[in-house]
């Protein structure tokens, strides 16, 4: 870099950071070693075999992952008790930092999102920032990649409405890409290539992100105070969940995450990670080092890097820039899926991206900690098929033992303390240890809550929070086997390079409908029933051990439907279950967002069926929307990159003009979707269409236009 940063933050000495990493992971390894010995001893008691070697190997991997999770909870808990100076907010007294003359862009990459929710979220963030008095230092960018023409036009209309309402012309900008190459990372790159050099920092948000103004200002101050920091990731709190599923996830996020992330920060420190949104990034190094190359080979591993965030953080760290988790900064929010199926759809996308990291893992020059982040991300999905393999191997051993005629040779435990224990008691001990390792972080999160009176009250009191943890644990026990089956499927299909298309979820106001749930879960139910029958035949005692896992599978349809219900979410809320601080004492940004969404719900009939090509009709017939649309196209043409893309679309050519004529005479149905987009991307044709649609006598227009003109003439707004 030409302007190498001067180091002002005292980074932790490498040896000491190494010590932290060693201590943390050694704790997990130690625990895994001890419990694995105990498990091996149990297997030894019934005679060793190859399948037992496989079972033990799988146990070691799975237990190690669980132990790492548990250590995050344990370390995080003690850090929260004793405090730490090794977090970005404690390293510098940043509050007094001046940010005059510092320019920051807040960017929202969007892709066919619900425009109402998106624009109201943006409004909440904008107004919150305005209240800080620091609005002048920020610009907002809506970076649309929407491919649906209806969404495209609606975004333009709502953007122009919003900037007029907020008097934010020249503060909130809108840009839609003509070709959404390389998805979100390409979208950000396009922004940086066009405007990046104007801004020292940019804050990347998701379509559902809401950020408090003070938090945004704090992030900029932190960056200004720490010139070697390349990015700071906040810990977004889940908000606005209404279904039971959403509220359970939200509760778990708010209660457990502070403890877990404190543990993560213990070993990651300045080598933290990036989760793709609600984070501030130093533009210059990001532009220099974080443009993603194409990976060699074919899909699913080759080609474009899908989960770009982890890799971008790794590239930043490779160049000695720091990445921190500002986990104690409040005021960063996002939303989560509202049903099991929506959640699985998101998991499928992430699974593909995380598996691809298997290649990046071996890239030269990456920091060890970055490889650790990547590896943990990969195992987040690979653990599921391993768990399934573990269960199947166990069943195989049980079956083999029972029907080969080979008798059990119960030998005494190798461990002198367990010599008098029966095999069942020994197995129960291993099981209980596993349960403790899984549950301990949840318990510690509750203890952590009990210590903090205001926070305890924000969760509705300790009793309610405890009931919430019990409820969440029961739900996650039922949910886990479904995730296991889903993840296994995703991993296998991704590795095989098979694209699994999912139809758009059919939701009604209440949640997932029964028929759709049956379509998505019949396989889970069948596996649960067959597996249950098998274990019952083998040994009814074994069946009861497997009940929690089997129940999740067999009950998947009602579980999926009922937990997606808003009514059950509301009932749980009125019973004081799964309350979060944002529900008991909602911040102003969330209050504003929710009340505005309510107004939209009451004033706009969102469920009314929209005519096909309603966006095209609006862009042509509405005099104002047409003007906005045309001016946006016109401004974009000034950018040579877009000018070239317009040419690729044929804008300005006679062919597109002819398509315009065809659209008027025959209606939009007679054109292919790509042709309609070409027409809508040609500013001259759009001006001409507006004029012609209103000037021509009705008999020279397709019937569709007549209907649309009548509709426009009776619109009140």
């Amino acid at each position: 870099m030409a302007d190498a940063p001067t180091i002002s933050v005292t980074p932790l000495p490498r040896a000491r950071r190494g010590w932290r990493l060693f201590l943390f992971y050694s704790s997990a390894v130690l625990l895994t070693g001890l419990v694995s010995m105990l498990f091996a001893d149990l297997l030894w008691r019934t005679g060793w075999s190859t399948s037992r070697t496989v079972l033990l190997s799988l146990f070691i991997i799975l237990f190690l992952l669980t132990a790492i999770g548990c250590m995050h909870g344990v370390y995080g808990f003690f850090i929260r008790i004793f405090g730490t100076k090794r977090c970005i907010t404690a390293l510098k007294s940043y509050q007094e930092q001046k940010i005059d003359g510092v320019s920051t862009a807040i960017v929202f990459p969007i892709y066919n999102e619900d425009p109402v929710r998106f624009f109201e979220g943006l409004r909440a963030t904008y107004e919150s920032l305005e209240r800080t008095g620091q609005l002048d230092r920020f610009d907002f960018f809506i970076l649309s990649d929407s491919t649906n023409p209806d969404r495209w036009v609606e975004e333009e209309r709502r953007w122009s409405d919003l900037v007029r309402e907020l008097d934010a012309l020249g503060k909130i900008y809108y840009r839609r890409r003509l070709f959404n190459e390389e998805r979100k990372s390409g979208n950000i790159r396009d922004f940086l290539n066009t405007w990046g050099r104007r801004y020292r920092y940019f804050v990347c948000c998701d379509a559902d992100s809401v950020m408090r103004g003070e938090t945004l200002v704090d992030l900029v101050k932190l960056m200004e105070a720490s010139p070697t920091v390349g990015l700071i990731q906040t810990m977004p709190a889940l908000v606005n969940a209404e279904s039971l599923f959403g509220r359970i996830q939200q509760f778990a996020n708010r209660l457990y995450a502070p403890v877990f992330i404190s543990g993560l920060n213990y070993w990651a420190l300045d080598l933290g990670n990036y989760w793709g949104h609600n984070a501030i990034i130093r533009t210059e190094p990001f532009m220099q080092f974080c443009d993603l190359p194409q990976l060699p080979g074919r899909k699913p591993f080759g080609g474009q890097i899908l989960s770009h965030d982890f890799v971008e953080a790794a590239l930043m760290l490779r160049e000695n820039w720091e990445a921190w988790l500002a986990y104690d900064l409040e005021g960063s929010y996002e939303e989560a899926p509202q049903s099991l199926i929506e959640n699985a759809q998101r998991e499928r996308r992430w699974c593909q991206g995380n598996l691809q990291h298997g290649l990046v893992l071996f890239a030269k020059g990456l920091r060890g900690v970055s490889r650790m982040h990547l590896l943990l991300g990969i195992f987040g999905y690979v653990a599921s098929p391993l768990w399934l393999a573990f269960m199947l191997t166990f069943n195989w051993i049980y079956w083999y033992q029972k029907f080969t005629g080979l008798s059990d040779i119960p030998v005494e435990s190798f461990n002198p303390y367990l010599k008098n224990w029966s095999g069942t008691e020994h197995a129960f001990l291993v099981f209980m240890i596993c349960m403790i390792v899984i549950m301990l972080p949840k318990f510690l999160s509750l203890v952590d809550l009990a210590r903090d009176w205001p926070r305890r009250r924000a969760f509705g009191g300790l009793l309610n929070a405890t009931a919430g943890v019990v409820g969440e644990t029961i739900f996650s026990t039922l949910h886990a086997p479904l995730l296991m089956l889903w993840h296994t499927r995703f991993v296998i299909t991704n590795l095989a390079g098979i694209s699994v298309g999912w139809t758009t979820q059919r939701r009604n106001a209440a949640g997932t409908d029964w028929l759709y749930a049956v379509q998505r879960h019949w396989g889970h139910t069948l596996i649960g029933v067959v597996w249950g029958w098998f274990t019952w035949q083998l040994d009814p005692t074994l069946f009861w051990w497997f009940t929690p896992m089997l129940a999740g599978m067999v009950l998947s349809v009602p579980l999926s439907v009922l937990t997606s219900r808003r009514s059950l979410g509301a009932r749980a809320r009125s019973a004081g279950l799964f309350l979060t601080p944002e529900e008991t004492k909602p911040p102003m940004e969330i209050v504003s967002l929710r009340s505005r969404l309510k107004i939209h719900e009451l004033t706009e009939n969102a469920d009314a069926p929209r005519r096909p090509h309603a966006g095209l009709a609006e862009a042509v017939l509405d005099p104002y929307v047409n003007a906005v649309h045309v001016m946006l196209l016109r401004e974009k043409e000034l950018n040579p990159v877009y000018a070239e893309q317009f040419a690729r679309l044929g804008a300005g050519s006679d062919a597109v003009r002819l398509l315009g004529e065809k659209i008027l005479a025959d209606g939009p149905d007679k054109l292919k979707p790509s042709e309609r987009v070409a027409v809508m991307a040609d500013q001259r044709v759009m001006v001409w269409l507006h004029q012609q649609a209103w000037l021509r006598p009705e008999e020279k227009l397709a019937p569709w236009w007549k209907a649309m003109i009548r509709e426009f003439s009776h619109r009140e707004n």
């Binding site: 020249g170 190359p293 591993f301 003007a627 001016m631 209103w694 000037l695 619109r715």
Partner: protein, 215 residues
């Protein structure tokens, strides 16, 4: 100056050589457009439509082949564009269709439907505040470009690169065929040297267990 026109039907029940039904259709067409411009004040709306129709009726005798709706729509477009040119101080002669677009955008940004309905299509002079609002509205979807180009740095994936390009390695298909052939030989050897019997005994064991389960 307001044009002086006959707005009453003649003896044959026509206005400017067109039937009342035709003028009614023309009225609806023009009214629809002004409605789309969010002119909600009924008297204002009616007055604007009538003024457009009067202009169309003036032209009508000279163009007998054209319908009243066509004439009215054209006059409406001309009338609005001329008004934009006057307010924005841009000569209408020789301008492309962008003048109308610019004018509509100015109307939107100065909030004509909310604040200035009474000024729309009114001949000047207009209130200073309105003229300023119309002329000074600027439209920016983004700040000035500051173009640059991000260049991806290649990731050295080491031996993984070779593995991911495995299919492109020379002779890989030939070597794969040899390996498959070798595997086939191994399979034949295994089956002919007791493997078949082992499979048979495993299957009978399974059958036995299923029978046992059913019992």
């Amino acid at each position: 100056m307001e044009p002086t026109l006959k707005i009453l039907p003649d003896v044959s029940g026509q206005i400017a050589g067109r039937s009342l039904e035709e003028w009614n259709a023309a009225y609806v067409k023009v009214e629809n457009y002004f409605h789309a411009l969010r002119i909600r004040n009924k008297p204002l709306l009616g007055r604007m439509v009538l003024r457009v129709l009067e202009r169309a009726q003036q032209r009508a005798p000279a163009e007998p082949s054209r319908s009243a709706t066509e004439l009215a729509a054209e006059e409406m477009d001309k009338f609005v564009t001329e008004w934009f040119a006057a307010v924005l101080q841009i000569s209408p002669a020789g301008t492309d269709q962008m003048l109308s677009t610019r004018g509509r955008l100015a109307l939107l940004l100065c909030d004509m439907p909310g604040k200035w309905q009474d000024q729309f299509l009114r001949p000047g002079p207009w209130p200073e505040e309105f003229v300023e609002a119309m002329r000074e509205t600027f439209f920016r979807a983004g700040p000035d470009f500051q173009l640059s180009k991000m260049v991806p740095r290649p990731l050295d994936l080491g031996p993984i690169t070779t593995l991911s390009n495995f299919g492109k390695l020379p002779y890989v298909r030939m070597i794969s065929a040899w390996l498959l052939f070798g595997l086939l030989l191994v399979a034949i050897f295994w089956f002919t040297h007791g493997g078949f019997d082992r499979v048979k005994s495993q299957l009978s064991l399974m059958l036995e267990s299923v029978t046992h389960l059913n019992r």
